[in-house]
């Protein structure tokens, strides 16, 4: 029997080896994905016992802070948002019951003071309890307010970027929610048909309409195929891909140059230009602007949508069958986010160089030490000369074209309107632009959903209000 007993012991050891194997899988190899599991509330509960850092606005006012409740071992911190819904979507929320989204999620490590394992062991040995860092965002409360007031309850979004640094100075999505309401009213907000929890600035894909002509103009000028003086016919309608295309209101133009075509947003002119450039050149410049990839914003990936030409959920490329003439005027199956169009405006403003957009500007540790974040270049989209030419043309749009409503007195403004017709009489109204044109300090994209109005008259005044709020603030500073 002894032989069998030894074999039995061997078998038992195999069983025990399985126990060891599974334990090591859960505790080491699969631990990270288990900690990220939606059903796992442990990381949240543990962090609830850490004093989470505050989130500050650009002017130093508090957007989010943690309040202690209870005492001793039972002490926990609860999140409060003193400014209510003003920063709702971009900042997001952090609650044990509903988890985290937005800035609260993407900067969680700084806010809870997560460090490398070695550093935290040192901290523990020294008896320090874990305390989070404060994080200052670039968001400007005055600009946020101007955007919220400008949209005046209409569904839509405003994104304002500092062209030279990529800092997001305003990000508004209407309807907005108050994060303080999340613990009690999450289900209700989540069911709401108007989707207040959906950040239109980064998640919504709108047809860009004529604002896309800025991208087409970039491709046309920078590729060397066109100059501002290049001429094409502006008659209407013409056949594009076998389907007739008209100008807005059926307006007729003769043979006109690019500046005139942009100033008056002549569809037929730009569709022909798009066809001449072809899919490869158009996609090359779209990709340089950041289309076809998630924006490099410090924001949770699942809350960032990719701009591009879609077939259902599939992103199309230059090898697919696409009506590039209509892509050039922002039609076809093009879907873009307000953030992406703000990046387009900011790139022209920044002499052709796209900066990585970012919501945070500095980290302040519990001892008051500040770490400023250096701006990061994303790509050189076009030459400085191209950007100068485009800047000039976009100024004429606001001075004498479709964008006169965006004009700010005493300052040159460059911009482009867009009106994407969703159905008869229902438009998504756009304006993208920057100011001052000679020394751009702010680039803004505005969109209003499902309105009867046109881009210029609808979004122009919102652009003006937000730009003034930021430029006045900059002057004061």
């Amino acid at each position: 029997m002894n032989r069998q007993i030894i074999k039995l012991f061997g078998f038992l050891l195999i069983l025990y080896a399985l126990l060891f194997g599974f334990t090591s899988y859960w505790s080491i190899f699969d631990a990270d994905s288990l900690k990220a599991n939606q059903a796992n509330r442990r990381p949240l509960l543990e962090e609830q016992q850490i004093k989470r850092g505050s989130i500050l606005a650009a002017d130093g006012s508090v957007i989010a802070k943690s309040i202690p409740q209870g005492s001793g071992n039972n002490k926990v911190y609860v999140r409060r948002y003193p400014q209510g819904g003003l920063f709702g979507n971009p900042i997001g929320y952090s609650f044990v019951t509903q988890g985290r989204v937005g800035f609260e999620l993407s900067h969680n490590d700084e806010l809870v003071g997560n460090k490398t394992e070695f550093l935290s062991v040192l901290d523990q040995l020294q008896g320090h309890s874990q305390v989070g860092d404060n994080v200052q965002s670039a968001l400007d409360p005055a600009a946020q307010e101007a955007a919220v007031n400008g949209l005046a309850g209409r569904r839509g979004s405003v994104v304002a970027l500092d062209p030279s640094t990529g800092e997001v100075r305003a990000m508004v999505s209407i309807p907005e929610y108050d994060p303080n309401q999340i613990p009690k009213h999450f289900a209700q907000l989540n069911r709401d048909q108007s989707a207040p929890l959906f950040n239109r600035a980064t998640q919504a894909g709108y047809p860009p309409g004529s604002t896309m002509k800025v991208v087409t103009a970039t491709a046309a000028l920078d590729s060397g195929e066109f100059t501002p003086d290049s001429t094409l016919s502006g008659r209407s309608p013409i056949e594009i891909e076998g389907v007739p295309l008209s100008n807005s209101g059926g307006e007729q133009f003769g043979t006109i140059d690019m500046t005139t075509a942009l100033t008056n947003s002549v569809n037929t002119w730009w569709a022909q230009a798009g066809e001449k450039l072809g899919k490869d050149t158009m996609f090359k410049y779209m990709d340089r602007y950041g289309f076809d990839a998630k924006p490099r914003l410090d924001y949770p990936s699942f809350q960032l949508a990719t701009s591009g030409v879609y077939d259902g959920n599939r992103l199309l490329g230059p090898s697919d069958t696409i009506d590039i003439g209509r892509v050039a005027i922002g039609q076809e199956r093009l879907r873009v986010t307000p953030l992406q169009m703000a990046e387009v405006a900011a790139t022209v403003a920044n002499k052709g160089e796209l900066m990585e957009p970012r919501l945070w500007s500095k980290v302040i540790d519990p001892d008051g030490r500040e770490t400023n974040l250096d701006p990061a270049r994303q790509s050189r989209v076009m030459s400085e000369d191209t950007a100068d030419e485009l800047n000039t043309m976009m100024q004429s749009v606001v001075r004498e074209g479709t964008g006169t409503a965006a004009a700010v007195s005493g300052i040159d403004v460059a911009g482009k309107t867009g009106t994407a017709e969703i159905s008869t009489g229902v438009n998504d109204a756009w304006f993208i632009g920057f100011a001052p044109a000679s020394d751009p300090q702010i680039a803004i994209a505005c969109v209003v959903e499902h309105t009867s109005g046109f881009g210029g008259p609808t979004c122009g005044p919102i652009f003006k209000a937000v730009a003034e709020a930021i430029l006045n603030g900059n002057d004061d500073g």
Binding site: L8, L15, L19, Q48
Partner: protein, 442 residues
């Protein structure tokens, strides 16, 4: 050094471990040092030394490592329970004392375990009565009938039943193993035991199935049937018998998995605990999340999240994040606080106990002693596997205790009796070996 002196010295590090463990928990809980932990460690050492003296007098040749290893498990358990709730640790300490008393009583009053062979049918009957008792006198926990209410305390008869069943099986198989092997026939390439002797084996299978459906105790069922197959294999040397038995069990379990909802649920949860992580899969997914928190070295004693912070409803139910942290899921708490190292240490201690138990079986001379030692060791080791395996998702989760570590009086007491029997077999076997050696030298 004599076997008994080795045993005595091995107990000292165990007592130090208890002291260190209590110290760690006390520091975490109250952020101050007190002499309390030294006191606890002292009590623990004194109790163990007292029992050591009983072993020294009655079983001088018994295996020197089994008792210290078991004391180590008990120390582990006591520290973990103290960390969870002081009251639980106090209760457990009382059970520990009672267990040691019954352990000593078994050694003192059962002078010769061979007597057990004579009463095997009576013992089998007692075992079966103990098994089905909860169905009639008890109440269901988690859908399984595990416990009997005896006044203020509840009692889990399966813990004692496992000893009875093992004694019976060892005795029965010892007597019939010859005929089982000799009379075996080859049917369609399968070696089957003779039909006449198949009957009792089918009875054991039937009992396991009844346990499964009637008592709804999948864990005990797996444990009992596993020990039976282990004994059958050791007694006959026929792997084919084991395979037939395994097929019968799996077939039966599969059949009931599709007809009995409670078993089917267990399987579904096992296959995907995260599918309904807030509902039926809550226990298992929380167990796994707790282990994920542990990492290599764990969060430290007293540092893991067992209760919801800010919740003041007392231990353990309403505030528990991980349900039943003191019984079924204590292994998950160990991995959480002591990491993979702590978990591996626990598994290693069980493996070492199994090694000593099987060594005893090999050294034993007669068939009954061999089978008894094998059976007791196998069922003890399997019990640890079934619950740790359930908690780590190696096998479907079932509710058996983690021997000597989990909170629970019946478990501690029964396992100490099991240990007493094992040590008695060991004493007899090693005495023979010692006498042989002495004669050889002389």
């Amino acid at each position: 050094m004599s076997a008994r002196s080795r045993e005595l010295f091995a107990l000292i590090p165990v007592a130090l471990l208890v002291t260190a463990g209590f110290t760690a928990v006390l520091i975490t809980n109250s952020a101050q040092l007190s002499n309390l932990s030294v006191l606890y460690g002292g009590y623990f050492l004194a109790l163990c030394v007292a029992v050591h003296l009983v072993i020294r007098i009655r079983l001088p040749d018994a295996d020197p490592y089994l008792f210290p290893l078991v004391a180590l498990l008990a120390a582990f358990g006591m520290v973990m329970l103290f960390r969870l709730d002081e009251g639980l640790a106090r209760d457990q300490a009382n059970w520990f004392v009672l267990g040691l008393i019954l352990f000593s009583a078994t050694i003192i009053f059962l002078r010769d375990y061979d007597a057990l062979e004579r009463y095997r049918y009576l013992i089998a009957l007692v075992g079966i009565v103990l098994l089905i008792m909860p169905r009639f006198l008890g109440h269901a926990t988690n859908d399984a009938f595990l416990a009997v209410d005896l006044g203020p305390i509840t009692f889990q008869p399966t813990e004692l039943a496992k000893i009875c069943i093992v004694i019976f099986l060892a005795s029965y198989l010892n007597e019939h193993r010859e005929v089982l092997v000799v009379g075996a026939r080859n049917v369609f390439g399968l070696v089957l035991p003779p039909l006449k002797h198949l009957g009792p084996l089918l009875v054991v299978w039937g009992a396991a199935m009844i346990l499964l459906v009637f008592i709804r105790d999948l864990g005990s069922s797996v444990m009992f049937f596993g020990a039976f197959l282990a004994l059958l294999y050791v007694a006959t040397g026929r792997l084919s018998f084991v395979i037939i038995g395994l097929l019968l069990f799996v077939g039966g379990a599969w059949f009931f998995a599709h007809t009995a909802a409670h078993i089917q649920d267990r399987f579904d949860i096992w296959l995907d605990p995260f599918k309904d992580a807030g509902g039926s899969g809550y226990q298992l997914s929380q167990s796994i999340f707790a282990q994920a928190d542990g990492g290599l070295f764990g969060r430290g004693l007293g540092e893991s999240l067992v209760q919801l912070p800010g919740c003041n409803h007392g231990f353990p139910d309403r505030c528990a994040i991980l349900p039943a942290p003191h019984t079924d899921f204590i292994y998950a708490v160990i991995v959480d606080e002591l990491g993979l190292f702590g978990g591996a240490a626990v598994v290693l201690i069980y493996a070492l106990i199994a090694e000593r138990g099987f060594k005893t079986a090999i050294l034993a001379e007669d068939g009954f002693s061999k089978l008894l030692a094998t059976g007791l060791t196998a069922i003890f080791a399997l019990q640890a596997f079934v619950i740790i395996g359930g908690v780590t998702r190696v096998i479907p989760l079932t509710g058996v205790t983690l021997p000597f570590i989990s909170y629970g009086g019946s478990s501690i007491v029964a396992n100490f009796i099991l240990l007493a029997l094992l040590l008695m077999v060991s004493d007899k076997a090693r005495r023979r070996v010692r006498l042989q050696n002495e004669r050889g030298i002389g």
